[in-house]
Symmetry: C3
Subunit: 138 residues, 3 copies
């Protein structure tokens, strides 16, 4: 019932639409009615739901977060990626979406995005679908 | 088991207490012990849990978010509401609260708020209650 | 199935690793496969998942949040802790983690942290574990 989805990121900060991959996990689960939890097991990457139509929305989100939370010389953490960790705690490590008739119950303009804050890296997220399956007719 | 709650907002930014409406969904579900997920299917509105006693808490939250994330000429998204999208990814599109003896298990001062970041609009949220119902005595 | 975990905080802002306490609740629940929801019933404290290895990550997170959201004379809420309330709506009142073979399914460097934003205080969080228990062999 739990699956791992692999994600390859390509720059330091990036939002990648993973909606189709999550839907495939739901399809394989057979759940028709329930909830789907997406969890990011990294501390410099997160998950969010936002607009999928205009890529400039993602560009504006990442650019503004970068101005609000820049890499700073005064940060104590020696790896130099405290900005990435801070962005994770504001964006969140998990997301919950309902499943209705076997489909992610997202709004018209919504997609689920994997948020890379310290890439490029090989990343993953875990997906769990909880709910009721169709009972086959006998 | 899933219900849609309609919300009419009245200004560009606004926090509306939807706790009573969510409790009504739980009442109708019959679930006594479980969790309740609230999901906002919009990309310029969100959900949060915060203080309900003093309305100035909401005023301060919305005013400070507006200063941290103002509408900016430099944003690329031509609709001019990138600030609203950014606020959504920081606040979150879903909230999970426990249900205990048929009641939302909130703290004394907590309410569930629908966060309008680009109103006024006709909005909605979806509510799902998962858990065990009372078994009637025979 | 729901348990309350008590937490004593020691300063105004502080991140306390509560992973071991949450794992104990899962152990007592007997759930092997499912999800665990952690909920903070306060309006000036929150929950987040982040790095546990270097304490300077927590120090940088709390210091930067304090600069982004300082206590301000212009805030209307007379208790003087609007900064704490704002931090809660950005960090979040709940967290969801999967349970796999009876263990919290966290990444290598992840812990669950209780975020105190207006301490020191006696605090608590509620924990609910949903899922399937082991069926004992007959």
């Amino acid at each position: 019932m739990k699956e791992t989805v692999m994600i390859q990121t390509h720059s330091r900060v990036e939002m990648i639409d993973i909606t189709a991959k999550i839907q495939e996990v739901i399809d394989r689960s057979g759940v028709r009615d329930g909830i789907c939890v997406v969890f990011v097991p990294h501390t410099t990457a997160a998950v969010t739901i936002n607009e999928n139509a205009d890529p400039d929305v993602r560009n504006d989100i990442m650019a503004h977060l970068g101005e609000m939370i820049p890499p700073r010389r005064s940060f104590l953490h020696v790896e130099g990626n405290s900005d990435s960790h801070i962005k994770v705690s504001l964006t969140g490590s998990s997301g919950t979406v309902m499943v209705d008739e076997g489909r992610l119950d997202l709004g018209t303009w919504q997609s689920i995005f994997f948020c890379e804050f310290d890439g490029p890296r090989n990343r993953r997220c875990t997906v769990k679908v909880i709910g009721e399956k169709d009972v086959p007719h006998s």
